[in-house]
């Protein structure tokens, strides 16, 4: 049934289809250092459509921007609170949609 597929879906498998030009060593989004994550930061671990945000064993929320599709959702949720810094990748870098 649908619920089974839903829980089993791996976003990595979806991102695998996409083309990226990764700007190695220059992440365009960073999470502000924190000890206890806010509910907003925690929400990003399920809201980000590319699964870029994860919660580390220590409890903090971390980001890996490699699969980022540059939708801007995390910016809308957390940037006004200073919980992340958000930029576009440098011109030309990042996701390259073939179809869009």
């Amino acid at each position: 049934m649908s619920t089974e597929t839903e829980t089993n879906v791996r976003v990595e498998d979806k991102l695998f289809q996409n083309r990226y030009l990764v700007d190695a060593g220059r992440p365009h989004i960073t999470v502000t250092p924190h000890t206890v994550p806010s509910p907003r930061l925690l929400a990003l671990t399920h809201v980000c459509p590319a699964g870029c945000y994860t919660q580390a064993d220590s409890g903090q929320v971390e980001i890996s921007t490699d699969g980022c599709v540059e939708c801007g959702t995390c910016r809308v949720v957390a940037e006004p609170y200073g919980e992340i810094t958000w930029n576009y990748p440098r011109g030309g870098f990042g996701v390259l949609f073939k179809f869009g």
Partner: protein, 433 residues
């Protein structure tokens, strides 16, 4: 380029920026267009339905070489619960006309084509260049931009911000704020490839005819949102989107929602055997009329999604983007011809022209509707009730029709009560007016 001065700089090469740059360049203005993607379209995501009228007003002969997929002859609207849909379908041979009104398109090739036309019209287009900030003079008038290329300023009489919903430049310059989570939706989308004969057989199509499906219901798990499925020549675009505030308050993932939508018994057979070639996501501004920011000032104008120009009810966006881009260009051209400076006072004509167009009239008509849609019953209770009603009605089981009618009415009142039902109906009606 540093000491070169342009008549206009357009930030972004989506439909709004392209419409603006094209209109300016064909009338002889010196235009610079900056796009952060490797090629126009490489950062853009859309359903996508192209509304011919808006483009025709800019490039009347676009049908001759634009990469169009299928012209739409059938529109389906589905109200879905977990196992069923109750739908309205409209199909007409009239849509097989000489100059069809709506087409499906794929954004990357379409944006590339539009951009080629802009460049042929004489504009200078620089890709792989992100605009980082606006440059102002001592009187706070915008006089140019800086980019991430070498940080040098590039000057122009006017800067048009066509940077889309998540644009940084206007927000950083304090011209508008970052959209609020309850005024933007997040949509995720996949491209499913199938042989064209398979698509034509599954959707009952011939040649370049196309079908589009818009759907709402329990597929969004109580969140305000919709799903869509559009037929292209050799692939199907499928996606689903919900308000970001609803996503954050739930425990749903966007890709989980898309997966469940694809597994719905009414959708699954339409996609069977397909090969997925891309997964994308993008925001859609859905705040409507009340979310529109200040649109003009000394030396600047805002067009397209950056100005919240999306009619979420009718799923129109790119046509509003192209229309606002064109109207911005016409305003600029008019001032240029009269040798009038690009001041806020003079550029106010842009807003006046917009107010007279369908863009503002339509958005104004629905200005209260976004609130009415923040009613979770629309996405849970009603689809279930409607499905149950349809099933009671269509199942032939020895129960008389009068009893069936009573049963259906009772199920509505039992679930939502009179007050709830009236409230929902009035809320929608008020928003619609």
């Amino acid at each position: 380029m540093a000491d070169e001065k342009f008549d206009a700089i357009v930030v972004g090469a989506g439909p709004s920026g392209n419409a603006c740059a094209y209109t300016l360049a064909t009338r002889g203005l010196k235009v610079l267009q900056l796009e952060r993607g490797e090629y126009p379209g490489s950062k853009n995501v859309q359903g996508a339905i192209l509304y011919a009228d808006a483009l025709e007003k800019i490039i009347p002969d676009f049908r001759e070489d634009a990469p169009l997929e299928r012209h739409i002859i059938e529109q389906r609207l589905w109200m879905m619960d977990d196992k069923s849909y109750c739908g309205a379908h409209y199909r007409s041979e009239d849509f097989n006309e000489d100059k069809p009104n709506r087409y499906t398109i794929i954004r990357a090739p379409f944006d590339k084509w539009f951009s080629r036309r802009v460049s042929e019209a004489g504009a200078l287009i620089l890709c792989e260049t992100t605009v980082t900030e606006l440059v102002r003079d001592a009187h706070d008038k915008v006089i140019g931009v800086r980019t991430d290329r070498d940080g040098a300023a590039i000057y122009a009489d006017i800067v048009v911000l066509a940077e889309g919903v998540s644009g940084l430049v206007g927000a950083r310059a304090g011209l508008r704020s970052i959209p609020k989570p309850d005024t933007v939706a997040l949509a995720v989308k996949e491209m499913h490839f199938l042989p064209r004969e398979t698509i034509e057989a599954r959707f009952n199509l011939q040649g370049d005819e196309g079908v589009v499906i818009e759907s709402a219901g329990t597929i969004t798990k109580g969140m305000a949102g919709t799903g869509f499925l559009y037929t292209n020549k050799e692939c199907i675009s499928i996606g689903i989107g919900c308000l970001i505030s609803d996503f954050t308050n739930s425990d749903q993932t966007p890709y989980g929602l898309l997966e469940a939508f694809k597994q719905h018994p009414s959708v699954k057979p339409l996609l069977a055997g397909s090969e997925v070639k891309e997964y994308a996501a993008h925001m859609i501004p859905e705040g409507g009329y009340k979310a529109i920011p200040q649109l003009f000032g000394n030396g600047w104008l805002i067009v397209g999604d950056a100005g919240q120009f999306v009619n979420a009810i009718h799923r129109e966006g790119s046509n509003l983007a192209m229309t606002t881009g064109r109207i911005a260009a016409e305003t600029i051209l008019d001032l240029k011809t009269r040798n009038a400076p690009m001041t806020a006072n003079n550029l106010a004509a842009y807003k006046t022209r917009l107010d007279e167009s369908f863009v503002m009239k339509d958005l104004k008509k629905y200005k209260n509707l976004p609130n009415a849609f923040h009613n979770k019953h629309l996405f849970t209770t009603y689809p279930q009730l409607i499905s149950k009603a349809a099933q009671t009605w269509f199942r032939v089981d020895g129960v008389d029709k009068k009893a069936k009618e009573n049963e259906i009415l009772k199920s509505f009142f039992r679930t939502r009560r009179v007050k709830g039902l009236l409230g929902d109906v009035l809320g929608m009606a008020r928003g619609w007016r």
